[in-house]
Point group: C2
Chain length 551, copies 2
Amino acid sequence: MNTRDYALGIDFGTESARALLVRISDGREAASQTYPYPHGVVEGRMPHGAPLPEGFALQHPRDYLEALEETVKAVLRKAGAGPGDVAGIGIDFTACTPLPVLADGTPLCLLPEFAKNPHAWVKLWKHHGALREAEDLNRAFRSAGGEWLARYGGAINLEWIFPKLLETHRKAPEVLEKADRYLEASDWVVWRLTGKEVRGSCAAGYKGCWLGDGYPPREELARVDPRFPALVDRLLGKTFLPAGRPAGGLTAEWARRLGLEEGTPVSAPIIDAHAAVPGCGVGESGRLVLILGTSGCHMMLGEKEILVPGIQGVVRDGILPGFYGYEAGQAALGDLFAWFAKNALPRDYAREAEARSLPPLALMEEKARAVPPGRTGLVALDWWNGNRSILIDPGLKGLILGYRMGTRPEQVFRALLEAAAFGTRVILDHFQDQGLPVKEVVATGGIAGKNALFLEILAHATGRTFHVARTDQACALGAAVFGAAAAGPERSGFQGVSQAARAMAGSPRATYEPDPAVKGIYDDLFALYMELHDHFGRGGTDLMKRIPPPG
Amino acid sequence: MNTRDYALGIDFGTESARALLVRISDGREAASQTYPYPHGVVEGRMPHGAPLPEGFALQHPRDYLEALEETVKAVLRKAGAGPGDVAGIGIDFTACTPLPVLADGTPLCLLPEFAKNPHAWVKLWKHHGALREAEDLNRAFRSAGGEWLARYGGAINLEWIFPKLLETHRKAPEVLEKADRYLEASDWVVWRLTGKEVRGSCAAGYKGCWLGDGYPPREELARVDPRFPALVDRLLGKTFLPAGRPAGGLTAEWARRLGLEEGTPVSAPIIDAHAAVPGCGVGESGRLVLILGTSGCHMMLGEKEILVPGIQGVVRDGILPGFYGYEAGQAALGDLFAWFAKNALPRDYAREAEARSLPPLALMEEKARAVPPGRTGLVALDWWNGNRSILIDPGLKGLILGYRMGTRPEQVFRALLEAAAFGTRVILDHFQDQGLPVKEVVATGGIAGKNALFLEILAHATGRTFHVARTDQACALGAAVFGAAAAGPERSGFQGVSQAARAMAGSPRATYEPDPAVKGIYDDLFALYMELHDHFGRGGTDLMKRIPPPG
């Protein structure tokens, strides 16, 4: 054995990339470096000045390669690590973020004749130009039977690869005629690093409609456009690897550019959120990983395939090799609290926060803590962004009920925290009801470490133990875990992802246990929440859909 | 004929009294003077320092007499009017505001042995010490049949005279043993001025359970306490006069104290809100007077008696002699907008209002005006104080539905304005459905002249023409109208209240006409409002009652 000291995780986000160099022995951070993309998110106008339609969100692929060079060299230097000290490299990436390339991997947008064509650029996950295409595809698939849609909760999303591919075909057919591949930026980056063309099974399964044994039937694909099956055949991937398996080793050129050994193993890539699962130390069924960000993402491992109604995605090898990965979501979490801070925080409270140098939400947490559990006098539905799981209905809306003349802002704020926790409970209970028991939850993400009151409410309201992951960088740490696993036992000492995850994720930094008495109070309030949930979201009335749109 | 130049209206409010001297010819204000009661509202502690239970709200009767002297002399001086220039005097008063007195009119609280007994003082309308008594009375009346309760929408209120009398009997029986009368402060003031003991039929009918031909049956009164019928017999009034009829003329002593002629006619008193009807120039059926204050009060005249379900009071001669007076209410109007300004106005808006020296609600009106009608993306129920008419259910709560991440404060604020206007529409439509058509509305009160947007929305949302009364002092002007009417044609030139009202109220200062196109938009939104109204308020679910109370 010749195990190395470090593993390297590289987390490609929306605005920047981050390299995290961690110690193999315990996963502790040795060095970290962030690099903001020089072109950022290309919105509104192209770099050469041409206007972009609303909803377009592009990126420049060269930014990713610059980020690799800048961040990796920096962390090696900071940690004093040499070329041979890194066992392996893992990559996580926002998805679905695809681009068209030639057979040698050259992005079309780097060819002079395509430089000004927005459809030749990387379409970032939040590019929303394919709304019409998503609607057309869903209609076509449903009319054709589309049983496979059940894995995705009944519909594909406008952010996924099929709508983006169809949009490019319709708006800029010359791009796809020239292109040889249409692939995730994560796959493209790994191809650059290793010279091997591999597709990560995570993005392919969750956002690429790769069903494990093929794409949806050709006749269904043909319903939307007779040329669509041929585009899928010719441009999308056919061989897939789960993260944690080596895609290949660093080429001589990239070894030099990064300051590492040639042949250093690079893992197949994974979607950023999914990397958080091993980043939180979860390598088995029964513990759910909850990413608490602007929205919420719930990830579970299962040993068997269950088509859970109302859950957005189930993909074999989608998170960890050998497991079915289940993904659910809450469309508004941090967003909901930020909405309050921006739109409903009264002047006197804002002044108090300023005088005490507190962030507004920290002040609201302090005041909301003084309101007894379940005693805001209010019940709310947390549907400010619609409902992702388990109703999968973006047309639903938020509600607050119970206002009195004495209703105070901290009661409203606490009611939103409680509603968001009830939204989580619906998902956990639903997993459990469908045969996937959720024994405990490991939380990570931007608001996990900052909002102790919300974590307490989550524990009491759901009746589960909530751990907060040791790191705020669970995605990058997860990528490093995959890098260590891909390196194999010779270089890392680990037999696989689960073992690496246990060793490197460490102990939670905080744990919240449910109190049975408080849980009892919340059970009663949750019954009211579910009455409203079912009345407005599940057949009682479609009134929320009939509100005239804001003008 | 020897008509005089002026009529005098005296408006006794909660914190102060106001005298308004107006010209008989056109009702224009000649002079006005306010006098804050030296003891104000006695809450928390008695003047001698003893603590008062929560909910107690007392007044000192001598304050009313001081207010008379101070304000009347001042307005005569300001206008340069002599003792013989005033045709008559009208009195309006907040109700129910009763006190116990001896046979000669001496208030018990002025006797040394009762000075420290709170039950010997005036109990102001908002004294809430008789909650238990109101519950006991309603239970007893219902169990006894209590058909007469239908005139009051099915229940008497804790602020009315029966609960206050029963509270005094239970808590301080020695007070009622000593007392010879238990009467409204308005009746007591008129008695002081004229030496004649008269009870105004308005307060007696709306708050005193005087049914026009007697009190409720003795056996029903006995259910709550066997001694209660005797107390009612001995202490409450038996002869009543509507406002506009002379109670008597000024005594020599009071003529001297006020600087007026002995014998100057004094009208029977009326409740303050009801005085606004002639103060707004309304002397016939078909035009509804709406007082827009912290809450809303809707008053209609009818030529026949209709027991309108869900309307709070119908009293013969209750507003104008010869008419049935109907009263309905919205529990939160100005209160609702003030709640928003206090609890939901965000910092940036508060800063903008300060920078531009605008009241916060004026800024919100400006921003809400830019939101198209019915296009807030929200629907609200305006039940922050429960629902007075037509559901008569104080346990109902406010609701806002339709929140999105993009929901802005001005959309929320406009949704509250629209909900309040829909609450008004429910009442107007209900009067109409029951055979009392509402052709147009005359609005007065604190927010009528200040919130043009709300008046516009009221017109469009209800499909009725809304006028804003010329004066902000519609109650005091109405009192002056009654004073002029009571003076009779010899002194005022008027044959009765209707004629005086037409001559003295003048033209509205603003008129808002409904736009059919906007009305159409609001008709659609009103349908959603009514779905929520009926679901939460009329049998769909009692969920609002099951929300745990705020802790």
